[in-house]
Symmetry: C2
Subunit: 452 residues, 2 copies
């Protein structure tokens, strides 16, 4: 069946790896305007790659933010199914730089791992799909059509993607999407399919007290310190058992049924797993839920940044924090916005003023585990890894999955070949190269399974 395409993959491994290294050298950090030229360079690099693999049509399509790289191969003909291959070419900031063993944009291979920002999330995953499609096309094609949508704003909440989808709905028409951004294999031997993603709601809260920084001796005792106020607000958001205290926060969170609870309990995502991969001294969280439930099926609140003060003896004029709520079906981000705003209104003392910005949002999603594309992926993963894939809930969110569903009306098949210890978003992000190669093999099998 896919024998020739598999041979093609094997024959081109060295080139694929070199191309990935080239791609990773481009610091396409989407949140930083200083890297605009790198974003554009990464987009052009990808467009060239799509042209080279034999796509019929490739274009870099502008959005109000960073461009989308679009490509199509419609060799399957009008009656054949169409797969929308999703990917993103932007990356997170590499900060804090001091914690990296090698430079984030000078890829280095150590012990079969390729270290670089974006290696796992998700330049490596994006090229796995692209390379698998290349192997199919270059060895004669299949009765399938492929459309690529490779965005440059995933790490900043896919800010302009939905607008883009709305505008180009006809052009993007497909039967379903393949999305390899939902990785997190527990180990290199265990492939996984994701059937649930958490949504999110982001906030920035600033507490303002005195008109300017004040000498902490001259005013300490009569002025409430904005750092203290913000700390109290953050502290009050969790009870002692790790539950978020916002009234109504859990009301709409979909209940995990007994069957799914049993399935999640059987997964390798147990306490020991999270301890090992986090390096934390002890776990934490809602004691009545499994660790796998807590990260996949329960909503959470994290403060991701707290900034205030200077290394001097002063009560600062302001203190600021950024909040990242993770949401599950059927919570609404707007509800959380209302709940959080009410919380601050109720608990912020009269000694300060405050400003709460609602930054970005999207609800959680659960997909059908028995659809034909999902079953094709299940079979392909089993063939490539010689093991049944696990079905997991992933704690992160992927805006594109929700937007594809709502705006294009299509579901996504969610998988990926990143490992839990790849440290995406952190320093020393890596890609396990043998797993990456198995992933490409799995994707070649997947395209064949689709047309069996």
């Amino acid at each position: 069946m896919s024998h020739t395409a598999l041979t093609y993959l094997a024959d081109n491994q060295e080139r694929f790896q070199n191309e990935l290294i080239e791609f990773l050298r481009i610091p396409s950090i989407s949140h930083d305007p200083a890297h605009q030229a790198d974003i554009d360079r990464a987009a052009r690099w990808l467009a060239d790659k799509l042209r080279a693999l034999g796509a019929n049509h490739v274009e870099i399509m502008p959005t109000a933010g960073h461009p989308v790289v679009y490509g199509e191969w419609l060799g399957g003909g009008a009656s054949a199914p169409t797969v929308l291959v999703y990917g993103h070419y932007d990356v997170q900031s590499p900060a804090p730089l001091a914690d990296w063993k090698s430079q984030p944009f000078e890829p280095e291979i150590r012990n079969e791992n390729l270290y670089a920002r974006g290696s796992s999330d998700m330049k490596g995953q994006t090229l796995a799909s692209v390379n698998a499609v290349e192997a199919i096309i270059k060895t004669g094609g299949l009765p399938l059509n492929i459309k690529f949508l490779l965005e440059g704003e995933e790490e900043i909440g896919s800010a302009h993607l939905n607008e883009f989808l709305t505008q180009h709905r006809e052009k993007l028409k497909s039967d379903f999407s393949l999305n390899t951004d939902a990785g997190g294999m527990p180990d290199a031997d265990t492939p996984s399919i994701c059937y649930s993603l958490r949504g999110g709601a982001g906030f920035a809260l600033t507490i303002s007290g005195p008109a300017q920084d004040l000498h902490s001796g001259e005013y300490g005792g009569v002025i409430q310190n904005p750092i203290h106020v913000l700390s109290r607000l953050i502290a009050g958001l969790h009870d002692e058992h790790g539950h978020v205290t916002l009234p109504g926060f859990y009301d709409k969170a979909r209940v995990i049924d007994a069957e799914e609870h049993a399935e999640l309990a059987a997964l390798p995502f147990d306490e020991e797993f999270f301890l090992k991969h986090s390096g934390a001294p002890a776990l934490w969280g809602e004691p009545e839920f499994l660790p796998a439930e807590r990260v996949g099926a329960r909503p959470t609140m994290e403060v991701v940044m707290f900034t205030a003060g200077q290394p001097k003896s002063a009560i600062p004029a302001t203190a600021s924090a950024r909040f990242s709520f993770r949401l599950v079906p059927d919570q609404s981000a707007e509800d959380v916005n209302q709940q959080f705003r009410k919380y601050v209104e109720t608990h912020a003392p009269p000694t300060v003023t405050w400003d709460l910005q609602f930054r970005m949002s999207g609800p959680g999603i659960v997909t059908d585990r028995k659809s034909p594309p999902v079953l094709a992926m299940k079979s392909a993963l089993k063939t490539a890894f010689n093991r049944e894939p696990i079905f997991q809930r992933v704690g992160g969110g992927i805006g594109a999955v929700l937007m594809f569903k709502n705006t294009l009306g299509i579901d996504s098949v969610l998988t990926g070949f990143s490992l839990y210890d790849d440290n995406f978003h952190g320093p020393n992000e890596k890609l396990h190269l043998p797993t990456w190669r198995k992933g490409m093999t799995a994707l070649v099998h997947f395209f064949h399974e689709l047309v069996k």
Copy 2:
């Protein structure tokens, strides 16, 4: 009496102001090693100034940190009293720079105020003393001896001053010290004498959770966020009425008696005063104490810096804060160190590790309000300002006062010509020039009062 010295002052006002501006242009920020050359330049500038005014002997004396500028004029002879004039030539960091209307090291006069970092705290005050001595010496002297001790580490806790005093005890032998670093006049018409300073204890606390930053979606729910832990620890340090919760914290704090309470109640440091000068929407603090008691006679805890996280969706590996406790007689900084350490030990959860560094310390101090030098200052201030000075407790601390008492065995006369709205340690620090000039006049009267 001091007519000729006063004429000298008047005749040299323009030069004095120009010299102050020159001195303020030197960014002698003591906590920043990048400014080492500026520290040295400021010391040399001061030494030259002392030589020019007619000191018999001037030297820049090294310490393990920044040097002390020492000078003496022993024209009074062996039987005359000796005054040790204290000052410092280092300044606080000007950060945050964006909040300054003019550059911190490019002095600018607006509306009779001289804006620059260090103008009020305390290059202006230091030169007020130096210029008053110049006026005395240049107009024939008095039966008094003067020794100058001008340090470069006040803003970093006078880290090496005590060692210096111990080493040069004989050379520094004096009857008492004049210290103009204890300012904070409520307004330009009301001179003040300080009779109480708070001490301090500084700490740096770092909370460490996971081994590296973790994706907040992948791990949110099972890993306790170091920002949350640190926020809870900070929140727990105050009860809802603004009391510090450390067991035993207030046990040794000297009680304010009814007489002093009545005196403090009569001072202009009321609620309205602190509201006006802070720009905060409302005051805060222990409701059973007057505002003037809360900043002067009660111990406090302020977090002056909180740093954690990045603008990305990650649970940070660490969160850090700096704490500044202000202490009153008869509290001991070491007691507070023990109490704080025990608090963190008790309340830090097993999900994190922590590191608490005890940075610097000194107890609070109360001085004799009826000593001859204090009475001389009282009379001099009344003459210069045409109003009785108030006696106030100042909330800040001055390490030198305590070290002079303990190591040299001498008391300090504490005054100063900074105004409460001078915004020392904050942006747009300023010096009110008419008050500064009156201050120099007062100091000339003071030296004459001493030998009456």
